[in-house]
């Protein structure tokens, strides 16, 4: 699955996160950047959750930017799922 133009989900409200997925050139794979108010404590955990959802999606060659505002696991998963579903819907 390839993203053609930037797709967003979520928000910058407290307890939420903003997910932005943009295309990279072919062969670059997936690049993940995380900005979070709790990155020091939970950066690895956020990365694991995001990657778990991404790995199930067959997304290719994309930059995934996460701006986290203290979201719980279920919200992180939800916003990434939403972004991926929006990419899928644009493909159809």
């Amino acid at each position: 699955m390839k993203v053609k133009e930037m797709v967003k989900s979520g928000s910058l409200e407290s307890s939420d996160l903003l997910v932005m997925i943009t295309p990279l050139t072919e062969g670059e794979g997936l690049k993940l950047e995380i900005n979070s108010i709790v990155k020091k404590q939970y950066g690895d955990r956020i990365r694991d959750i995001v990657m778990e959802v991404l790995n199930e999606s067959e997304l290719e060659d994309s930059l995934i930017l996460i701006q986290d505002r203290g979201a719980l696991d279920y919200a992180i998963k939800s916003r990434v799922e939403t972004a991926l579903s929006r990419i899928r819907n644009k493909e159809e």
Partner: protein
């Protein structure tokens, strides 16, 4: 269970969705309809589904207001949210039995996971009010009815006021139909979130005319609504006396029962049972 307070929680707001279980309501209504912008319907549906899968809401009942049957999202809403720990579905703008049957069919198709999910029709149009008894009798999944006064007043062309004269007919008809169909009647929310005196008057009035609970749009309204809908100690004491008198008469083989010089008949016993149910003393 008795639903004295049903709290609306916007379905796309994680801060509220994840904390909704500790705000003092008996039931939460995760809203996928009016509280969610059209372009965020997908996002809210996924957030609520994952919240229902992952968050423990304890003793708080979980319901979701799906999108109206006029739009395409409602079926997708049901298919997603039943994957979590969901107790019931609130269906907006129900006007006829046809709408209930459509929702029932989609729920039935989901199999075992949706077997015990109940339906609460939201009655908020003139046509819905006229058909309410038939609607409430159309499915064994229906456990309560919710009145939506904002849309109803817009539909009949009346001005919504705090006194609520314009919704008196709708309220009374809903209470009557709910009682006849043996389901709970839940009143419309009081929409001025800072007017606590107005809220108290509105809740007391709703209780006096027969509603058993009320929807709320602010967590700050929960404790007031709950307190006013809960039976007073005096009502509980009297209900216990009624039930004791009935039991004693049964043991003594008496057909006619009296308490404090007044005859106890079926409606008084029913009321006493209702009070004990509301206070969690049923079966004591």
């Amino acid at each position: 269970m008795m639903r004295t307070t049903m709290l609306f929680a916007p379905g796309n707001n994680p801060a509220i969705v994840q904390n909704a279980g500790v705000l003092g309501a008996d039931s939460i209504i995760f809203d996928l309809e009016d509280a969610v912008a059209q372009q965020e319907k997908d996002s809210a549906r996924i957030l609520v589904r994952n919240a229902l899968i992952n968050i423990d809401y304890g003793n708080c009942e979980t319901t979701v207001r799906i999108n109206s049957l006029e739009y395409s999202e409602w079926e997708e809403d049901i298919k997603e949210i039943v994957k979590g720990k969901l107790d019931g579905i609130i269906v907006p703008k129900i006007e006829s039995v046809k709408g209930i049957k459509a929702v029932e069919k989609v729920l039935d198709k989901q199999g075992d996971i949706a077997r015990n999910i109940f339906i609460i029709p939201l009655i908020e149009t003139a046509l819905g009010i006229e058909n309410v008894f038939e609607i409430l009798n159309s499915s064994s999944r229906i456990k309560a009815v919710l009145f939506g006064a904002e849309d109803y007043t817009a539909d009949i062309g009346a001005k919504r006021t705090k006194k609520g004269v314009e919704i008196m007919y709708g309220r009374s008809r809903i209470v009557n139909a709910a009682t006849a169909a043996m389901v709970e009647a839940i009143d419309t929310p009081f929409t001025d979130i800072d007017d606590f005196e107005g809220l108290k008057e509105d809740v007391q009035f709703a209780k006096d005319i027969g509603f058993s609970g009320k929807a709320v749009i602010s967590p700050r309204h929960c404790s007031i609504v709950k307190e006013l809908f809960s039976p007073s100690q005096e009502e509980i004491d009297y209900a216990l006396k009624v039930i004791n008198a009935i039991q004693k008469a049964k043991e003594e083989g008496k057909g006619v029962v009296s308490l404090d010089g007044k005859m106890i008949d079926a409606p008084i016993v029913n009321r006493a049972n209702k009070v004990l149910k509301l206070s969690g003393l049923e079966g004591v």
